[in-house]
């Protein structure tokens, strides 16, 4: 591997799920055994070619993969600078990248013989993706969602109910994604015998960050092949939004050893990094322990987790997957941020120039990509992960503009 950034190749996590000082398994004793069982069944599945064949087939025929890699000519021209290419995860079944992971984890749930599925959700995309695979496999499904998010993502709440899931509002703490995760963990310790917890991002205790990454890495593998076929070479820059970080890691991971490919994650700057009302732990947080792993967090000086703000529910989380913490410290990936305003402006720009309505989460990625592209030559290639479609967000956008639908 002559171009690798890492002698011997990228090698994280270690056997205990540590990404150097990040990651690990910071959970109460009751959860150690189910995590051990999950890690074991995942290791076993990793060795099983039939498992991956079944996964690939579901991705092809149920999810609709490969998702296209689309050269956004009009957006690129409107912006100036490098070519912007979009990896169209918005075209997946259920409208976001989240389904790649839920298909994989549901297969593991079946394999261990669990009959009840739980999940946390912020934007509702992961909840919908979980409810979808549960319906298909005949598994009972319970989704925890912050009451504030239930409010702002109403269409997804109804979709989950249509799919047969029970949506439980979480009213503790800040009533958003982090609190939904707490509640899902509480459910899991109570029902460990029959319950499989499908975490929706590369967060949580080991083995989740590694396992979710591996399921999402299909995004990067396809991108690698497609960009070589369509543009004849590897890209110069990959860009993705970072909430927990699963769509970003999914895109980045197959390129980590390509030192010439720059990686850029975009966090939510909310009302602005200096206002304190944002969700950008990599930019402004520090290392701590939350939800089973050690990573960058938004916390006060006494170690209490802070309430976050982002217009996009899927990015409204005070932590970030531990692998991003490592990639930041190593300097292998860079992280920037986009404000609510920038995301909204980009939402409209992409909609009008390309006829693609992005999820507000993904609009953050595109905003970060546009800024980076302006400083790059016209023949440079920037691939942005368009992680989801914007149908779920049109209410939020309309309300911001004083309309009600």
């Amino acid at each position: 591997m002559p171009h690798s950034s890492f002698p011997g190749g990228y090698r994280w996590p270690d056997a205990e799920g540590h990404f150097e000082e990040y990651g690990g398994r910071f959970v109460a004793e009751t959860l150690i055994r189910p995590l051990d069982e999950l890690a074991a069944v995942y290791r076993e599945a990793c060795e099983d070619a039939d498992f991956w064949k079944a996964f690939e087939e579901d991705l092809a025929h149920y999810v609709g993969r490969p998702s296209p890699l689309y050269f956004a000519r009009h957006l690129s021209r409107a912006n100036g600078g490098a070519q912007i290419w979009l990896k169209r995860e918005d075209l997946n079944h259920t409208g976001a990248h989240k389904i790649n992971n839920t298909v994989g984890q549901a297969m593991l749930a079946k394999r261990i013989g669990k009959t009840r599925i739980i999940a946390e959700t912020g934007a509702g995309q992961h909840g919908v993706a979980t409810a979808t695979v549960s319906a298909r496999l005949g598994l009972q499904c319970v989704v925890y969602m912050g009451s504030e998010d239930i409010e702002r993502q109403a269409p997804n709440v109804y979709r989950m109910k249509l799919l047969g899931a029970e949506v439980i509002p979480v009213t503790s703490g800040s009533k958003t994604l982090k609190d939904a995760l707490n509640e899902a963990l509480r459910d899991w310790v109570t029902h460990v015998e029959n319950t499989f917890y499908i975490i929706g991002s590369v967060a949580g205790p080991a083995p989740y960050p590694e396992m979710v990454r591996d399921f999402q890495a299909v995004i990067g593998r396809e991108t690698r092949r497609q960009v070589q076929e369509q543009a004849g070479r590897l890209p110069d820059l990959l860009v993705a939004c970072v909430g927990g970080g699963s769509n970003a890691i999914g895109l980045f991971h197959p390129f980590l050893d390509d030192s010439d490919v720059r990686l850029l994650g975009v966090e939510a700057a909310g009302h602005g990094l200096d206002t304190g009302e944002h969700a950008a732990p990599l930019a402004r947080g520090r290392a701590g322990v939350l939800h089973g792993n050690r990573t960058y967090l938004m916390e006060d000086e006494a170690g209490q987790i802070l309430a976050t703000h982002s217009i996009s529910a899927g990015l409204d989380y005070p932590g970030v997957g531990p692998e991003h913490a490592l990639l930041k410290d190593l300097g292998r990936a860079e992280y920037t941020s986009a404000t609510d305003e920038e995301a909204l402006r980009t939402f409209h720009l992409l909609t009008r120039t390309e006829g693609i309505i992005p999820a507000l989460e993904s609009a953050h990625a595109v905003a970060g990509a546009l800024e980076a592209a302006r400083g790059m030559p016209e023949d440079a290639i920037v691939v942005v992960n368009l992680s989801g479609r914007g149908d779920k967000d049109i209410d939020t956008v309309a309300r911001r503009e004083g309309l009600s639908l």
Binding site: F26, D179, L185, V189, H291, E301, I305
Partner: protein, 271 residues
């Protein structure tokens, strides 16, 4: 001998099972805590667990979540809790005090600073709910360096091999989480607990306490038949919270539990 070991030795001598109440520090307001701790001791507490409030108490049920929120509304920090320990020790040099909480406030303070200040404040043991033995040996070392007992949880899901390992590392006493669930849950299955305790006893040289789901004289009596310590949290926090006179309510509950425990006699079993 640590204060915790000393207390268990005394109790063993007297043929008694320990009663261990839990309170969240700073609930409902910071000034309430130290007087309540003294009340607990007068009402028969043998050891005290003092909860450090955390914004995301993942292992706690609704009662202790609410207690954390009330304390955090007053911005109670880990250093404030240590201040309460100092104040408590000013009048009580005997009753062992265990801090119970989550890893992040300790990490934020710095593990060495925390261990040093906690030891100086007269804290005897530390139970970090989300810190299983394989994580963060750095915290472990700091606690050892400052003579603090690290208390470990054992759960219904803990394998025998792991029980053996944890028993080898634990100090003070072992805390058996008697049910699958969060604090305050109501699904105690005593037959199952008895089965597990038998297994734990074959490996444990330390006293073993039972907690989670103890709420009245009856459940306390059943736990006392199996354990060296009976731990009560949510039921106490709930009573205090709902009462016009928190001291009277705490006293009444503890006396009830004490009566149940003493009536059960002491089965114990720890050497």
């Amino acid at each position: 001998m640590s204060r915790i070991a000393g207390r268990f030795a005394q109790l063993r001598e007297a043929g008694r099972t320990a009663l261990v109440p839990y309170l969240t520090a700073g609930d409902p307001e910071p000034a309430a805590t130290v007087p309540l701790l003294h009340t607990l001791v007068r009402a028969g507490a043998d050891l005290i667990e003092l909860g450090v409030p955390f914004s995301d108490p993942m292992a706690d049920g609704p009662v202790i979540q609410a207690a954390c929120e009330r304390a955090l509304a007053h911005r109670v920090r880990l250093c404030d809790v240590l201040g309460m320990a100092v104040e408590f020790r000013g009048e009580d040099a005997e009753t062992p005090l265990v801090l119970m909480g989550y890893a992040n406030p300790i990490v934020a303070m710095g593990v060495d600073t925390f261990a040093e200040q906690a030891a100086r404040a007269g804290v005897d043991g530390v139970l970090v709910v989300d810190l299983p033995p394989e994580e963060a040996p750095a915290i472990r070392q700091a606690l050892i360096d400052h003579g603090l007992d690290e208390i470990f949880l054992l759960a219904p899901t803990t394998t025998e091999e792991r029980i053996r390992q944890i028993c080898g590392q634990a100090k003070g006493f072992l805390y058996y989480v008697s049910l699958r669930g969060t604090t305050g849950a109501d699904r105690l299955d005593m037959e199952d607990v008895a089965e597990r305790m038998k297994c734990i006893r074959t490996h444990a040289t330390l006293p073993v306490g039972i907690g989670f789901g103890i709420k009245d004289a009856d459940s306390a009596a059943q736990a006392a038949k199996l354990a060296d310590a009976v731990i009560v949290g949510s039921a106490l926090v709930d009573r205090i919270q709902a009462a016009a006179d928190p001291h009277a309510a705490a006293t009444e509950l503890l006396q009830d539990l004490r009566a149940g425990i003493d009536a059960a006699g002491r089965a114990g079993g720890a050497p």
